[in-house]
Amino acid sequence: MSDYNPTEAKYRITYEAYSKFSSQLSKVNDIDGLIAVVSKNLKYFFSYQIFRIILIENKKTLAYTFTNTNKQYTSSGSSSLLNHEKKIAKTQIPLHTSCKDQELLRFLNNNNDGLDNDKDLWGWYFNYTKIEVITSIVTKADLPLTISDVEILRLVVDTFTTKHKELQLDKQLKLKNENLKEAIIKIEDQNSKIKEINDNQQQIIFDRTDEIRKKNESLVKLSFLNAHSLREPLTRILGLLDLSDELDSNEFKSNFKEYIKESALELDQILNKVIEQSVEAIDQYAIKNIERDEK
């Protein structure tokens, strides 16, 4: 067994406490978890009555207070800065005085152990990228901080600040992702609405065009009937009538009546067809108009 070295032993214990602290921190995924882990482990690093850490980022102030009775307080806004912290923020000079500040000591109410004894107040200013950190510790006057305590305190503040920042970024990222998702859903919704309107319009255009095309078809059919079929039997009747002025033979006479009749009947048939198709076209047009008016 080696010689007992109190400093070395303290370092070893602190190192073990710190590695436990680190491994617990790595599992933390929100600010509440961070506070809980700090609160649980802080007493293994140094003896304290009150430990406060203030983070100032983008003019926003967040204050976390831990007591030796495992109580934690969180507040935000510049009003949560205590007088001595305002002074540290301004001067950035470390502080070590006896602690008389009732506003600070009220965190220790109900603590019989504390109120009567003399207390010391320690404070430091740290500047990280974009974040200012002010930390203060209240200790019993007869149990002051050692240099190694201050070293580990510095380490704890570092770790806390880094983790805090990581958690906040994480939170912001989640929030942005959610907003983005919402925006995407909104865009998709609007796209489908636009598509619906487009489809609808195309359908209307298609329907109307189809209607016109059909109407044209029936018109062409009708005019074809007129140009060819309708005139054809009529021209036969006219031709036969012309001939009757010239021909007087029995052969012609016997054919004449039969041919006139046959041609007239055919003309009647075709006329009926033309009338039928015109009526049909008119009816279809009327029905379409009524349907459209109803819409």
């Binding site: 140009a227 060819h228 079929s229 005139r231 054809e232 009529l234 021209t235 036969r236 006219l238 031709g239 036969l240 012309d242 001939l243 010239e246 021909l247 012609f252 054919n255 041919y259 046959e262 041609s263």
Partner: protein, 126 residues
């Protein structure tokens, strides 16, 4: 006017139409021989070994219409002259007929006695 023996072919799916035209040719006093067909296919077959001076051709016929008939004549190099006799009043049809060199006349029905005379005169002057 030369009263030669004209060979005239009638192609119309309506037998009455052919009858009328036949009678008109008879009345005109022109020496003639007539072959009449209500089936254009049969008329085309007839053209294989006959060469009428003129064909009176209807346009609106089922299966083979007047235009198909003209195309077939072109393919088979039948060089009879053609007078279209149609019940159509369509200007498009009249215009289209000018694309065929062998078409020398275009009549709207009913054909008149004078039309036959004029047609024969046109043939004679060619």
């Amino acid at each position: 006017m030369k009263n030669e023996d004209y060979h005239i072919m009638l192609v119309d799916d309506q037998k009455i139409a052919n009858y009328i035209n036949k009678k008109l040719i008879e009345i005109s006093g022109i020496e003639h021989q007539i072959s009449d067909f209500t089936d254009p296919k049969k008329a085309l077959l007839h053209l294989n070994n006959h060469n009428p001076d003129v064909i009176l051709l209807d346009l609106n016929m089922p299966d083979i219409n007047g235009w198909d008939f003209l195309e077939q004549m072109k393919i088979n190099k039948f060089n009879s002259k053609v007078a279209i006799v149609t019940s159509s009043t369509s200007k498009l049809d009249r215009k289209k007929s000018q694309d065929y060199q062998e078409v020398i006349e275009y009549y709207s029905k009913p054909l008149k006695k004078d039309d036959i005379r004029n047609l024969i005169n046109k043939l004679a002057s060619n």
